[in-house]
């Protein structure tokens, strides 16, 4: 099996295949590639996911429940701590109107999907969990299933695990072409420098690159980029014990402040106006952050589908080819390893009710789409 893309999605799927005994070759780009994985905020999140798609809500919920097994497996196999902490997580609201809308959304989700518990909290209850909450915060919603992990350590762990399971990982590769070769058992994968690989199975997990490659195996994957800018502070002594949707304190003590959603094409730069905006929002949420030093800001391009939901599809015209696209490479990592991986190997059936994740849904001329970013 060849996996095109060694980011969070590709590495997780490849690991899922390799641990089941499939011989896997992962082809990854070089040092300065766009790498959405480097821009992932790191939440392992359920609440409010899939409020327009019950199937996605279930997929997210199940993925989060599988995460501890992935954390444990990677730690035992490689010694690398992917940093999973699941104390529950908060969404914070800044007005009564926001709080009401939030309640309706979460209540609807729990009713429709089930097993997605949540609790609304007013300011005073919130402050028992997040004592540093500032006066402009009206309240929040809490979901005990939520948590966070370290995206970079997860990626590092997956790559180390891939090696240990006998997978080949080749870096510095830009794949231009994928060709179905039915007479010759499978697929030719061709890089821009002329190198070629052959395999029976092919998984496209190339993020923004998926659109162009998927077309070549009969799949429709309309991904576009949305830039997210994130701030990160110096290491700080622990003071935030729960992740929140926009601000979390990592295991290293740094505080991450996210994030923007900008339509700027393929520009992953940072801008001073957004840095200032994110900083002000952080200080408004937790005033004590006024004293934290900003050490890094970065921008990364999220590969987003028009409705913000993943695309998981097996090609019909080129059997053995699959595409996987999702911007939630951390939250869904365990599902990618333990479900998508084996599925693309042909070891398990396609997961139930997966039609909602077909790329073909975007071909419907009568449908319209929007996403939350």
């Amino acid at each position: 099996m060849t996996v095109v893309g060694g980011g969070l999605v590709g590495a997780a799927i490849a690991y899922g295949a390799a641990r089941m005994g499939m011989h896997v070759c992962v082809l990854d780009q070089g040092d300065t590639a766009f790498r959405a994985s480097r821009g992932n905020f790191g939440l392992v999140w359920v609440q409010s996911k899939g409020h327009r798609s019950p199937r996605y809500a279930r997929w997210s919920r199940d993925a989060v429940k599988l995460w501890p097994a992935l954390q444990k497996e990677l730690l035992e196999l490689t010694g690398i701590d992917a940093g999973l902490r699941q104390p529950g997580g908060f969404w914070l609201g800044f007005s009564d109107a926001e709080m009401r809308a939030r309640f309706e959304l979460l209540e609807g989700l729990d009713r429709q999907v089930g097993e997605i518990p949540f609790r609304m909290m007013d300011r005073s209850e919130l402050q028992e969990y997040l004592p540093e909450t500032g006066p402009t915060v009206a309240g929040g919603s809490f979901c005990p299933l939520d948590g966070h992990a370290n995206p970079l350590m997860l990626l590092h762990g997956l790559h180390a695990a891939l090696r240990l399971k006998g997978a080949e990982v080749i870096t510095g590769i830009d794949i231009e072409q994928v060709r179905y070769d039915p007479g010759n058992a499978g697929f030719d994968v061709i890089a821009s420098d002329g190198q070629r690989w052959k395999s029976e199975r092919l998984v496209l997990a190339a993020g923004l690159g998926n659109a162009h490659l998927a077309r070549q195996v009969g799949l429709h994957v309309p991904v576009t980029s949305t830039r997210g800018q994130v701030l990160i502070t110096e290491r700080l002594k622990p003071f935030l014990n729960y992740p929140t949707n926009k601000i979390r304190q990592t295991g290293d003590g740094t505080v991450q402040v996210g994030s923007t959603s900008e339509d700027v094409g393929l520009d992953d730069g940072t801008t001073t106006d957004k840095i200032e905006w994110l900083a002000r929002r952080a200080v408004a949420t937790f005033p004590v952050l006024a004293r934290a030093r900003l050490v890094r800001a970065w921008g990364a391009l999220r590969p987003l589908t028009p409705d913000g939901l993943p695309i998981y599809q097996a090609s019909v015209s080129c059997p053995g080819a699959y595409v996987a696209t999702s911007h939630s490479g951390v939250s869904l990592a365990a599902a990618h390893s333990f479900v998508i991986g084996p599925w693309t190997c042909g070891y398990i059936e396609r997961p139930p009710e997966f039609d909602v994740f077909l790329g073909d849904r975007f071909l419907d001329p009568n449908a319209s789409f929007s996403h939350d970013h």
């Binding site: 840095i275 200032e276 900003l294």
Partner: protein, 456 residues
């Protein structure tokens, strides 16, 4: 003319910045100069205005000559903002900085980056122990406060600054226990190819020879051709061990000053996204500019040691040339070639001895690229050489993936102190050149800024 908009915004108050400010003001351009320090002079002319007579004598003529430039700067009518920490420069000429706890902006029709050089890191085993400092740091202490080592000091490494410091210490009566010189016979042989250039720059050569001569008498214990340097100590430096003529030597030390040259401070130029080249003689990155220091098609110029190591005198000349180039673009200079010609001749003169010095004092591979896996490379995040090599084994081809996997470069120094080492370790491990490996992606803020400084 407004307070926050100028024809030229200069960052850095060393010789390049000050000379550029003077030249631009003489052309009647509006100039704003920002510098992080509280006093003018940058590093090389640190505390130049307040140095008492005895200190000027100790430090020598080159330092003292900075006083006339400082005085010219003070009289130039430049708008000088000290204690201003620049955290971003945009390619449209906006400069964001923090002063007095607030983030502010100035706008330049042109911007000149003159942030100078920094000491090359010296990543040997034990170099993070308290009591180990750069020779440049000790010189800053001398210039800034007149402070001398309180006991016998050990100097180690190579390069003009190391010998200059030893000479200054002798003049001041400090005790030098040993000078552990890593310069070897092979360095002299390599440098010999550039002797013609050295002779053209005979003034500098004579200065250097005189200085070195003074170091031999009275006897400082000098060990030549040393290798395998390693700092010993538990919670602070206790000694330096090394190989000398094939035999192991250990010199006790509670203060150890390391030096192997200075390198351009490229944080700003990288953050703007400018192209850089790897210079194989100076073993460092240099921003790619035109002859006057301009970065591509932008209104941003670079002058002085942050463009390439050229020394204080040449830095000042580059500053003046950049100011003239800006003046020409603004239409106030119509005879650029005539004005530039004498400055270009001066630059040529100063540059003559460079290839000789670069060859003679080329920092040793072993002192730039630690072989011992336990040596700390990223001081902030305590990442070792071994961890970096393991990242390369996992497929990391450059410093950015290595940073993602190991956290090297993620600390407050933002890769300043580990960047060169990381690039070179990766290059060596992959068997390619540093220019094939690249450098960290540097982004604003290029110095840490308190989040509260953004709040009105």
């Amino acid at each position: 003319m407004s307070d926050t908009v100028a024809d030229l915004v200069i960052i850095g108050c060393g010789p390049a910045g000050m000379a550029a400010a003077c030249e631009a003001r003489a052309l009647n351009l509006s100039v704003i100069l920002l510098d992080e320090q509280a006093t003018i002079g940058g590093q090389i002319y640190r505390s130049i205005e307040s140095a008492p007579a005895e200190r000027l004598h100790v430090l020598g003529h080159d330092y003292a000559s900075g006083r006339s430039l400082a005085s010219e700067f003070r009289n130039s009518g430049v708008r000088y903002l000290g204690g201003a920490v620049v955290w971003n420069v945009s390619s449209d000429g906006t400069v964001d900085y923090v002063a007095s706890g607030r983030s502010e902006k100035v706008m330049g029709k042109h911007v000149l980056l003159a942030s100078g050089a920094m000491e090359r890191p010296f990543p040997i085993s034990g170099w993070t122990l308290p009591g180990v400092m750069g020779a440049g740091a000790a010189q800053i202490l001398l210039k800034g406060s007149g402070a001398l080592p309180n006991g016998p000091v050990v100097l180690a490494g190579c390069g003009p600054l190391l010998y200059l410091l030893a000479w200054q210490y002798l003049r001041a009566g400090a005790t030098i226990r040993a000078l552990v010189d890593t310069t070897a016979v092979s360095d002299y042989l390599r440098a010999a190819r550039h002797v013609a250039g050295a002779l053209r720059g005979w003034r500098d050569l004579v200065k250097g020879v005189k200085l070195l001569g003074a170091l031999r008498f009275p006897a400082i214990r000098v060990f030549f051709g040393c290798s395998e340097l390693s700092v010993e100590g538990e919670r602070r430096v206790e000694g330096l061990s090394f190989k000398h003529r094939g035999r192991p030597v250990r010199v006790p030390a509670s203060l150890l000053l390391l030096h192997q040259g200075v390198v351009p401070n490229t944080q700003l130029t990288w953050s703007i996204g400018s192209a850089h080249r790897w210079d194989r003689d100076q073993l460092c990155w240099q921003p790619v500019t035109d002859a006057w220091g301009r970065l591509g098609e932008s209104p941003i110029y670079v002058a002085g040691d942050s463009r390439a190591i050229v020394g204080a005198q040449a830095s000042a000349v580059q500053g003046r040339l950049a100011a003239l180039a800006v003046g020409e673009r603004l239409g106030v200079v119509t005879d650029f070639a005539r004005r530039a010609a004498p400055l270009e001749r001066q630059l040529k003169r100063h540059a003559s001895i460079r290839p000789f010095l670069d060859a003679l004092y080329r920092p040793k591979n072993g002192n730039r690229i630690p072989q011992a896996n336990g040596t700390v490379v990223c001081r902030c995040e305590e990442v070792t050489a071994g961890q970096i090599r393991r990242c390369v084994e996992l497929g990391c081809r450059g410093p950015n993936q290595t940073k993602a996997f190991s956290r090297c470069g993620m600390g407050p120094c933002q890769g300043r102190f580990c960047g060169l080492t990381v690039t070179e370790i990766i290059a060596q491990a992959r068997g390619v050149e540093p220019c094939d490996v690249g450098y960290y992606r540097i982004r604003p803020p290029i110095k840490p800024v308190m989040l509260g400084d953004f709040v009105q």
